[in-house]
């Protein structure tokens, strides 16, 4: 993990943005207009909440960033990749620049906590010595250094999600994206999860997180993007939420 501590408020905006949407629309093959003319710019080191009612297009927004879905119109740039022009073969390279945290944790039940995190390094071909070091670091960073040998089903929901964050973190990504990472975790655990993401953000990683939890958004005073029926209806850089 990078050691330079960067305050979000001091980030220069003339730098190339980590995420840039220009006139992006997404229509699914069944005809649903999930996003319409979305323009957004997210800079390095920002922490951004994405909020909105169910079906507003939040997950679609995230999937476009991961290139799980392709935009119908407009241009998307993420971590220097032009997603609208990118070929399929390049998708893995894009994914290596980001860490993804899942709502349902996605831990492999038959692997230990350590192996679950190591898996993310193995499959991108990291050498085993580096794997051992980085996994240990990542687990320490999420406060699970002592649970390395545990199996996922021996952990609480909050702990499991912290393993998920360690896994997203371990390849040292420039961007972490999390679609409702606290969705399957009870409220007081949610706070810990977001704190963890916030402290990772403090070390320079851009974090983008979808949530339904207004309480969290209020507490963590960060930039909030609000979607409604596929459109950005509010982009509150000052933090807090308007309703």
């Amino acid at each position: 993990m990078s050691e330079n501590v960067t305050d979000i408020n001091s980030v220069q905006t003339n730098e190339a943005p980590v995420i840039e949407f220009k006139g992006v629309s997404k229509r699914y093959t069944n005809g649903t207009h999930a996003l319409e003319d979305v323009n957004i710019r997210i800079n390095k080191g920002e922490f951004v909440f994405v909020v909105g009612s169910s079906g507003a297009g939040k997950s679609t927004f995230m999937k476009l960033i991961m290139r799980e879905e392709k935009a119908n119109t407009g241009t998307i740039k993420v971590n220097g990749f032009n997603l609208t022009k990118m070929r399929r073969k390049q998708i893995p390279m894009l994914r290596r620049t980001m860490g993804i945290v899942f709502q349902d944790f996605r831990l492999i039940p038959k692997m230990t906590v350590f192996d679950n995190v190591a898996f993310a390094m193995h499959v991108v071909g990291a050498p085993s010595r580096r794997i051992r070091k980085e996994v240990t670091n990542a687990l320490a960073a999420v406060g699970l250094g002592d649970k390395a040998r545990s199996m996922p089903n021996e952990l609480s929901g909050g702990e499991q999600q912290r393993v998920g964050i360690a896994r997203a973190l371990v390849n040292n990504p420039a961007l972490i994206i999390a679609d409702e990472p606290t969705g399957n975790v009870d409220p007081n655990m949610s706070y810990d999860i977001v704190s963890m993401l916030a402290s990772i953000n403090k070390m320079g990683t851009t974090v983008l997180m979808v949530t339904h939890d207004h309480q969290l958004v209020r507490e963590f005073k960060q930039r909030v993007i609000m979607l409604d029926s596929g459109k950005i209806v509010a982009d509150n850089t000052a933090g807090g939420e308007e309703e």
Binding site: M66, E68, M93, D104, R106, I108, F119, V123, V124, G125
Partner: protein, 363 residues
Amino acid sequence: MKLGDVRYLTKEGIKSTWANRLMTLASIGVLVACMVVIGLAVLISENGNKALGHLEKQNIVMAYMKDYSWALDMKTNADTADKTASEQTAASKSGNSSEKGDGAQDGAAAETPDENGIKNSDYVIHSDEEAKKLCKQIRKIDNVKNVEFISSEEGLKNVAEQLGKDESNKKLVMELLKDDNPLPRSAKITMTSMDEFDSTVKAIEELEGISNVRSQGDAAKKILSIKNGVQIAGIWMISILLLISLVIVSNTIRITMYNRKLEISIMKAVGATNSFVRLPFIVEGITIGLISAVISEGLLYFCYRVVTDELENVLGGAVIPFSHMALILLGIFAAIGTVSGVIGSSIMISKYLRKEGSEFAAI
């Protein structure tokens, strides 16, 4: 891809084969069944070829000689076709032979053309004596077992024989052609080994005095058509079995992929390349194929022993021993196993790898 990756993925592939062992076992069972049937087909067809080879050995070729009737035939053909060409051939032929014939038909004066325009030097075999000498020469060729001289008259009789059972027909042919026999002298040749058939025919054809060699036809043709039929049926059967193997392996891989969709979705999310995701499944496919190959080889050995023990009593030791075929069969099986492993897994993988991330976890 690095060596460490390959090791890791191979391990993963084998682990998954084991984790999926019930399905693996089932597909190995089907593959083994297919391979044993294919192996038996190969063994039967090889034995069949060998047996048919015996039959073919009794086959006989006819070598026709360049005698007076041949020259006459040539001249008639050439005259109607191209005059200048025939003159050239005649010119090049003159000086070839200085032998003098004394046969009834061949008795024309040395260099003066007879009433048909044929000179002595236009043909090689002037008498039955020369023909018999040529037969002795044929006999000296490797692989020639027996040579029987057939004079023009005998040849005519044979033709008449073939024309029908009707005695009057035969008589008619004999009467019509007796004085103007168009058949050249010939030799009926029996070969020792069918394997050298082509080279032997060539050696005979190269002899001075032989115009052409014809195999006796019918029997050989029939055997050949049976062989072709068996071969085509075999190819069809093997193709179908190969298709079954492919379907079985790809289905097994499909189930493995389904079982491992969580891993795959994570792999894709963290940026594993498709070829990296694919390799364990290909390893699994190949593992299934190769295990099947080894089992099939063993099983076939026992099957074949039982069958040949019976057959040998009937045929009397003419059966090909398994050891002669063992390596070829193992090679065939390994090839089938590898190919169906690679292709079978690739079919499913490419179908699934088009899906991305969470979409994958949702299948």
